[in-house]
């Protein structure tokens, strides 16, 4: 069997490893758009901060491709022709496949302002972008981060560690609006404010003012403010990269549409990771997958299915995030902004906990400041278990442990 995988990150690598485990003889080819070894995309802010270089964010040894007999091809896939089972690359090369797995990831959402000829405006999606921004950061005194999501805040934190005065510009009324509510996000905000980061809400950049060398110097905001800025990091989120499947006339919506076996609408073509959309386990709503852990598990499921071992991929929880930004750890799982029968919310000066219960089931939670035992709550959500009065008491007073779920 000849398996071609487009993409060299979480989904692609986990799929390749699984196919190899299942089939020692399979021909496995990985097409990588970036000519770099597999690296941890979630850690590239550490490249921006100057704390790590490429060798600090690898996640497979350099001998990985050789040891597993994977053919690595550096290049970009530009077209798929399902009728002849071929992938075409930007250098004119063509590859035949028996099964194709599309793991093309997601692309950053561009700013509304044209920044094409401006130096010093970058998104933080690839290692190369982070490395380039890190060079610009060396002589920068001020920076603006557009977007207060996870990537933006990690970038703001990284730049602050370099002694740069950072301003975060957020369109919504609080940061991390997809993961946290106002109270928990204010804990994260306070942690960063203490380090010197400034926050401006409810506005977006409308213009970038540059010097004679086209280097950005100031950001003009919709609310009239002008912020000095030698560097702008754009982190407005990402959109699934569906272009190859679109072009091949496969079905796509917010992301590539796949069935419960992660198969696309095109014959013998599967898709996994940030490029797909998937129904959320709790709401049923189709959501771009967009999370590292989901990409890893989808890569594994897709590998089973394309190898001929049918494995139904259960709908995942699509909000599943944990991080620590400055000194505030937090976890956010499930539905956090919804109509609920019951919301438990505990507040201490340094920690916060919110549980959302609907129809006697836990459907979401936020923990900030203290995240111990978070996985037990995640497991309770996944199980869809009805919460007994005894369990409710433990949920209320925060004494739930793994033991309560196995007995």
């Amino acid at each position: 069997m000849n398996v071609v995988i487009i993409g060299n990150s979480a989904a692609g690598i986990s799929a390749a490893e699984t196919v190899r485990r299942l089939n020692k003889k399979a021909e496995i080819t990985i097409i990588s758009g970036e000519s770099l070894p597999p690296y941890l995309r979630c850690l590239i802010y550490e490249v921006l901060s100057g704390k790590k270089n490429l060798s600090g964010i690898y996640y497979r040894h350099s001998s990985f491709f050789y040891d597993n007999r994977f053919n690595l091809i550096n290049g970009r896939a530009v077209e798929i022709k399902p009728e002849v089972k071929k992938v075409f690359l930007d250098d004119g090369k063509e590859l035949s496949y028996d099964r194709l797995l599309v793991c093309t990831g997601a692309n950053p959402i561009p700013l509304d302002v044209d920044t094409q000829n401006i130096i010093g405006v970058s998104s933080l999606h690839t290692y190369q972008q982070a490395a380039n921004a890190a060079i610009l950061a060396k002589d920068a005194k001020t920076a603006v981060v557009v977007g207060g999501g996870l990537v933006g805040l990690k970038a703001a934190w990284g730049l602050t560690q370099r002694g740069i005065q950072v301003t975060v510009v957020e369109k919504a009324s609080h940061i991390l609006s997809r993961q946290l509510d106002e109270k928990s996000s204010s804990l994260v905000e306070t942690g960063l404010t203490r380090l010197g980061v400034r926050f401006i809400y409810d506005t977006v950049p409308i213009q970038f003012i540059t010097d004679k060398n086209n280097r950005v110097k100031k950001v003009v905001l919709e609310n009239g403010l002008e912020i000095p800025s030698d560097l702008v990091i754009s982190s407005r989120g990402v959109r699934p990269n569906t272009s190859l499947v679109d072009k091949a006339k496969g079905i796509t919506a917010k992301g590539i549409v796949v069935n419960e076996y992660l198969s696309t609408s095109l014959p013998d073509i599967y898709a996994a990771g940030d490029c797909i959309e998937i129904p959320d386990a709790l709401t049923g709503e189709k959501t771009p997958s967009g999370l590292w852990p989901l990409a890893v598990e989808q890569g594994r499921y897709a590998a089973y299915n394309l190898s001929g071992y049918k494995r139904l991929y259960p709908h995942p929880i699509t909000n599943l995030n944990a991080a620590q930004i400055s000194n505030v750890p937090f976890v956010s799982v499930g539905t956090i902004n919804s109509e609920a029968d019951h919301i438990i919310s505990d507040e201490c000066p340094k920690s916060y906990r919110k549980l959302i219960i609907k129809n006697d089931k836990l459907i979401g939670f936020i923990m900030a400041g203290v995240v111990e035992n978070a996985g037990v709550y995640t497991s309770l959500i996944k199980s869809g278990k009805l919460i007994s009065s005894k369990l409710k008491e433990k949920l209320f007073n925060g004494t739930l442990t793994g033991a309560d779920l196995i007995i």
């Binding site: 979630c42 590292w292 995030n321 799982v333 978070a374 037990v376 793994g402 033991a403």
Partner: protein
């Protein structure tokens, strides 16, 4: 053959000897008196919880398709050659992102925010016979260290015996 810790809940008296032995095994000095005097308090990686009147020791199962390995975004959590799942000695260091804490259904990965490090069972405590410190310390044999196949065979036998006893 990989061995795992089998827990017989009905035998546990909640003496917490396993917790103590685990912490000592992860101390600098590896002795109880020494551990007490260390500046950095050694941490246990097994927990005895109480559910109603039952004592429930709970520890890492070193799961197959371990969710903590899938979730690790820093390349630290991995499976060793002996089959143990650990965030120590991997390709990269743990940076304390807490993704593993978020997905462990047993709640046996601890978060140490000040150190930016997750702490879990690493099986780095085996004695000269290959027995983990928690198992060695258990006075009632509630914890045993058995071959994975024997483990399921023993559990099946126990289940059949109790089912037959109920029928009779």
């Amino acid at each position: 053959m990989r061995k795992e810790v089998l827990i017989r809940y009905d035998r546990c008296m909640g003496c917490r000897s396993c917790e103590l032995a685990c912490a000592v095994a992860h101390s600098e000095s590896k002795s109880l008196m020494g551990a007490l005097t260390e500046d950095k308090k050694p941490l246990k990686r097994i927990y005895v919880h109480q559910v109603e009147n039952k004592k429930i020791p709970i520890n890492c199962r070193h799961c197959e398709d371990a969710p903590c390995i899938d979730a690790c975004i820093t390349g630290a959590m991995h499976r060793t050659e002996t089959g143990a799942v650990t965030n120590e000695g991997g390709l990269q260091d743990c940076t304390g992102c807490w993704m593993c804490v978020m997905v462990c259904p047993y709640g046996v990965i601890r978060s140490i925010p000040d150190e930016r490090k997750a702490v879990k069972c690493d099986e780095n405590c085996l004695d000269e016979f290959g027995t983990p410190s928690c198992v060695r310390a258990c006075p009632t044999k509630a914890l045993t260290f058995v071959d994975v196949d024997d483990f399921s065979r023993t559990r099946r036998n126990e289940f059949l015996i109790s089912a037959l006893a109920q029928q009779n």
